[in-house]
Amino acid sequence: MKRPGIVKALLIFLFFVLLIPGGLQLYRHRHFDIPVVAGPGVTRVVRLSDFGPGLKKTMADTPVYFLEGKEPGGKAILLSDTHANEPEGLLATLLILENAVVEKGTLIIIPQFNHSASRNTRPGDGYPLYFKISTDWGLKKFRMGNRDASPLDQWPDPDVYIHYPDRQLLSYIDVRNVNRTWPGRPDGPLMEKVTFAAMEIMRREKVDIAVDIHGAETMFPVTNCIVAPEKSIRIATMAALTVKAKEGFDSHVEPSPSGFRGLSHREIGDYSDTLPFLLEAPIPFLDQPTGPKTEKFLLDGKDPFLLSLARKKKLFVPYDASGWPLEKRVGQHCSVTLEILRQYSKKNPERSILVRDVPRYAEIVQNGVGRYFHDPAWADKDKIYLN
């Protein structure tokens, strides 16, 4: 090699050209906050670490919103961003948070349940770092997160994750997946502390219903459904039949497998008196054989490769040129959640949870998701929370 000093200087320059712009993008993503305007129903906001002290001053701590009615009744907890790359759940809970008024009972909402994952990225799959929703007052920008917590917050991963307390062997990466670490423990890995704190909320507050909101691939059999264990299955079935008959969309019931541990729809029911439900809406963006993972694809769910697979009957949901847009996914989640609350309230009038001013499927499909978000620039400062 001639003139090694000059060659090395050039290579070091190239190294910083790669490192600095790339690193800055990732740094800004991790520290980007989404302003949430607390709606008329929000009565108090606490932190998850109030129920699990091991989360204090960690990236896994996250706001917990209480919407308490004037009349006492039952209690429900809504979780989203369990997997932070499934944004329909986050948008559904934020929509409820910004608009719902609870007349009877209490709603507890944790919009970014895996807060660390919501600040993690997935550049290996070419995910966009952000996505924007069109509203009446401009574009509202959200972080696109990842399925698992950031290794910056929980590291190293074990060779095999041994689930607590069942000791089932799970994939190493599931140690950072909060939908494998239920019911958690106060002194376990960070994600077990997260699920333990949520279990503490359910036990201390005597929560009746837990709804964990997700999205799933169109090629995955457990999609477009309500997953429920034995104790929740009657209410899930009634909710599925009602939305099908009254609102015209399918969300069938899948039984929660008893031999697969760590999942919310299994462990919440087994380790508390709460009835768990896990909602899945189809998100084509997560499928593997697709075109580029663009922001547009995330929002409209249109992909020519999936369309071709649909014609060959390889998908588990109906799929045509209209794709599977975000409005449908968020609308389904809002309607199914409201229907679960209604069915539970019918069966348990003394523990009923009455919620109004949350749009349902048809309204959201017609008006778009952005219609229901409020402009932080015009909101009272004490109503704005940075998530």
């Binding site: 090694p4 090395k8 290579l11 070091i12 790669l18 490192l19 990732l26 740094y27 910056l152 190293p156």
Partner: protein, 51 residues
């Protein structure tokens, strides 16, 4: 930060020093120089707690 995580950061820092030392000592192969720097990128991003 748990002790095991601190240990992993120390291991990463040790690897950075090793790779950087190899980069400094290499005088013949440009390919090896480039590879040392490519290997350094994720290690540096982790030590700086960026990724």
């Amino acid at each position: 930060m748990p002790i095991i995580m601190i240990l992993y950061y120390l291991i990463t820092a040790y690897l950075v020093v090793l790779v950087a030392w190899n980069f400094i000592r290499e005088k013949k192969k440009v390919e090896d120089l480039a590879q040392y720097l490519l290997v350094l990128i994720p290690l540096v991003l982790r030590i700086l707690r960026i990724k």
